[in-house]
């Protein structure tokens, strides 16, 4: 789907020879990018390729060392976010820039207030403007609803409305679909197409290849700070884009082979867990994972997955029910006992739970058994043994680090995650819990971690995989359980599962249309 009627109109946005150097790295190396009016232009690249830096430069958050930015053919100097907004450039950030305790209206108004006089806000006028703007793009909204009570999909719409309210001519969306269900993604795409049809220019940042192919008019691929190619969706495919992005051929879907499930490794019976505020987050979950199979838990973030996982690995007290590991009751066992019983855990937040960032790589690799032989003799550390093990793991799991003595915090995200995986997977396991194991990682690291998971499964480990990325669940799972509001609402076979059906279950829990799921869209 290209724009055939785009002869010689001046690009709405042109970035010429943008170069940005940080100490030790060139984040952007003479990048050229042009976006036409009414075009959806995808910017594709791995994490750390320089997409974010480029957009920060466009948004005035960083200053380029070289190069020029042109808007409608005029060279401009963007001094900061407010300047960028004044020039019609708006950004929808990957992590929503919304104040949860504010109403929709307050969030949209902020920074661009409709005033009645010099001091006070004109709330009625603002409300009217927002409702009208929403209608123009096909959604009915109540501007007085608190943003924190909205579903993620609706929060995203608020972000887009926020940009439109500021009269955005150029809209930058940074990984807008990362947290959406397939249906929500479709709805957002419809909104974006409508915006483009009205003449807005859209920069769509992503690393999901099929989405880029679906939505974009043109695709620019960057790798290590350089533009490595530009494609039209009609003339390319996923393999071609992946190769451009990574710089080598990548096997996008891991060949998972047949699974050979054996006995039940872990059994949850009527498990109930409370969240931090004391309300029930997991409501009576019954679930089995067999040795040698991967059970994927699909669900929109915040439906009790975190609490479920934390209860299994012992980080959170179960309020009721039972967790059995090959017959033994580990419901209220300590994390260390659960660990020693053969449960490994790759946490979603590797900075908070997986690693001690200020410790050396070697120490991080023995975090789960530093107190045991051979790493400790009595209460004295055995540095040689720790060092030897660390060297071995680093080699085996291909962790890119200058040495085993550097602090873990200095590694890249992908290598930090490899570090966690190396520690957790390199022993005999009964159960492996993977919580968002590839969040924020590049294609290469994802491929590696997926391979490791499959290998572990084939070695007879039971694997519980939690991910907000439905694609990851579909790709790896032998069985898929859908979690909605603390309950498992459906279990499907991993090979025959229908993506749309799972997406719908994630969004509604299988009820016709739960009234509280979201405020009813009028699209």
């Amino acid at each position: 789907m290209t724009t055939p009627d785009a002869p010689v109109r001046a690009p709405a946005l042109e970035m010429r020879g943008i170069t940005k150097r940080y100490p030790g790295v060139t984040a952007n190396d003479h990048i050229d990018l042009d976006v036409r009016p009414g075009e959806i232009h995808a910017l594709l690249g791995e994490n750390g390729a320089g997409k974010t830096t480029l957009m920060n430069i466009l948004y005035g958050l960083a200053r380029p060392d070289e190069g020029a930015i042109l808007l409608d053919g005029q060279e401009v100097n963007i001094s900061g976010p407010s300047d960028a907004i004044a020039r019609g450039i708006n950004m929808v950030h990957q992590h929503f820039m919304l104040v949860p305790v504010f109403s929709i209206a307050e969030n949209i108004l902020l920074g661009e207030e409709t005033m009645a006089g010099p001091i006070f806000l004109d709330r009625r006028e603002a409300r009217r403007g927002i409702v009208e703007l929403g209608r123009r793009f096909g959604f009915e909204i109540d501007p007085d609803l608190r943003v924190g009570s909205l579903s993620v999909g609706w929060q995203q719409r608020v972000e887009i409305l926020k940009a439109l309210y500021r009269d955005a001519k150029i809209l930058v969306l940074d990984e807008p679909t990362a947290v959406l269900t397939p249906q929500e993604t479709e709805e957002i795409f419809a909104v974006l197409r409508r915006l483009a049809a009205e003449g807005h220019s859209i920069v769509f940042i992503s690393h999901k290849l099929y989405e880029v192919l679906e939505i974009a008019d043109r695709i620019t691929v960057i790798r290590r700070g350089k533009v490595v190619g530009q494609r039209l969706p009609a003339e390319t495919d996923e393999d071609d884009l992946a190769e451009l992005m990574v710089g080598r051929g990548v096997q996008l879907t891991v060949d998972r082979g047949e699974s050979h499930p054996a006995d039940v490794a872990v059994r949850l019976e009527g498990l109930e867990v409370k969240d931090d505020r004391g309300s029930i987050a997991v409501r009576g979950v019954d679930l089995e994972v067999r040795s040698g199979e991967i059970l994927g838990i699909a669900g929109v973030a915040g439906n009790g997955q975190d609490e479920l996982v934390e209860a299994i690995v012992g980080l959170r007290h179960a309020a009721g029910g039972r967790i059995g590991l090959q017959g033994a009751d580990i419901t209220h066992a300590s994390p260390r006992r659960i660990n020693e019983a053969g449960v490994a855990y790759v946490p979603a937040d590797r900075h908070r739970f997986g690693l001690v960032l200020s410790f050396p790589v070697a120490d991080n690799l023995v975090l789960t058994d530093y107190y045991r032989r051979p790493y400790a003799r009595g209460f004295i550390r055995n540095d040689e043994a720790i060092e030897a093990t660390a060297e071995e793991r680093i080699r085996e799991y291909d962790v890119r680090t200058p040495s085993a003595d550097v602090r873990a915090g200095t590694l890249s995200g992908g290598n930090q995650q490899k570090l966690v995986v190396a520690r957790e997977l390199s022993r005999d396991l009964k159960l492996l819990v993977l919580d968002q194991p590839t969040r924020g990682l590049d294609v290469g690291s994802i491929e590696f971690i997926h391979r490791q998971a499959i290998a572990k499964r084939d070695a007879g480990t039971a694997i519980l995989l939690v991910s907000a990325e439905l694609d990851e669940i579909l790709e790896l799972s032998d069985r898929i359980a859908v979690m909605y509001r603390g309950r498992i609402v459906a279990v499907r076979d991993g090979r025959t599962a229908d993506k749309n059906e799972i997406g719908l279950l994630m969004a509604t829990g299988g009820e016709a249309r739960s009234p509280a799921a979201a405020i009813g869209p009028a699209v």
Binding site: P81, M97, V99, L110, G111, F120
Partner: protein, 358 residues
């Protein structure tokens, strides 16, 4: 009439309640101005807290700002009286020396706040530590200077005097007592009500309020829509300093005409508690301060002039310490029972670092 009252008072249990009501009717008109006077420094401290924390800066140095302003205000008066004299130039016993001294006191509050703002916003030091340093330094410094000066026991610039509303107004039941509470006051205590109302309206209805709250809840979001987070925080902390300084000046320039070492006696901290009980809103914080000071006043009243009858027998049988603890007990009960969970601004106490420094 008296017969009816005596008959009501003699009913078991219910009689005690009637006696309590009668006692309150008896003492409240007299103590109502005292309640607002006791609440004034606490409420001003709480307003300072709301002003800072709504923008995301925790300020536990309020106590230090208050004691500094109390000292500076009083001592400026001491120095200014010989120069400017004590001729009254306006209502409330205002003299030029007194007004200038108040101005200097407020300026000292702004200076100390600027130190806290610089440490916690620009240097990104731990805000609790910055506040603690200010408290310790302010107490030590004012105490030391007071020792040097007090040997010669000078007079201050005098104190603001109270407005006296006519008896006909204050004798009206209930309404008169409330009017008496707000009107039978000096200028600083009276200004508190005005400040609370203006602050409340601005915080929730104005552009400044919307931006301040955004900066305290989600500074990154505020920055991305072009709001200068650092500037908003500085501004609010400095304005907060004016509030706290006013509370301190009240103690040495309106409530008394002297400075005593440590005369703030924890009112800055009680103000922070009032802020929390009042859920970070100016009106709520003021209400909490009033609640606290009215239970203090009631406790004192029972201690020094207990009611007669059965109620008096019951109340006097309790040890004095119960009445000293009354304000704290009431605060705990209200906090647990009525207010429920009080949720601070999400970015409260977190230093803000600009994205992708160039």
């Amino acid at each position: 009439m008296d017969g009816l009252i005596n008959a009501l008072y003699s009913i078991p249990v219910a009689g005690v309640l009637f006696q309590l009501a009668g006692y309150l009717v008896n003492v409240v008109p007299d103590i109502s101005p005292l309640i607002l006077q006791a609440a004034t420094p606490i409420a001003l401290a709480a307003l300072c807290g709301v002003m800072c924390e709504r923008a995301g800066v925790v300020n536990i140095g309020i106590e230090g700002i208050m004691i500094t302003a109390a000292f500076v205000g009083w001592y400026s008066g001491v120095l200014l009286v010989p120069v400017l004299g004590t001729t009254a130039i306006g209502p409330f016993g205002m003299s030029l020396a007194l007004v200038v001294a108040l101005g200097v006191a407020l300026a000292s509050g702004v200076v100390i706040s600027a130190l806290h703002a610089w440490l916690s916003i620009s240097v990104r030091a731990d805000q609790i530590i910055s506040g603690t340093i200010i408290n310790i330094a302010a107490f030590g410094l004012t105490g030391y200077l007071n020792n040097l000066i007090a040997k010669t026991s000078p007079n201050g610039a005098g104190a603001f005097t109270q407005f006296r509303p006519p008896r006909e107004v204050t004798d009206i039941p209930v309404i008169g007592w409330i009017l008496n509470m707000f009107l039978n006051q000096g200028p600083i205590a009276m200004s508190v009500i005005v400040l609370v109302v203006i602050f409340q309206i601005l915080l929730f209805r104005s552009r400044w309020g919307l931006r301040s709250r955004a900066v305290g809840e989600h500074p990154r979001a505020a920055e991305t829509v072009g709001i200068d987070v650092i500037r908003v925080r500085y501004r609010n902390v400095l304005i907060g300093g004016v509030f706290a300084a006013l509370g301190g000046a009240y103690l040495s320039m309106e409530a008394t005409n002297s400075f005593q070492q440590g005369m703030t006696t924890g009112r800055g901290f009680i103000g922070l508690a009032a802020m929390i009980v009042g859920r970070w809103s100016p009106v709520g914080a003021f209400g909490a301060a009033l609640l606290f000071s009215s239970s203090t006043a009631l406790g004192n009243s029972i201690k020094f002039s207990p009611p007669s009858g059965d109620l008096g027998t019951i109340l006097t049988s309790l040890p004095d310490q119960v009445y000293d603890a009354l304000p704290y007990l009431v605060t705990i009960v209200i906090l647990a029972g009525v207010v429920g969970r009080s949720i601070p601004p999400a970015a409260d106490g977190q230093a803000y670092e600009r994205e992708a420094a160039t």
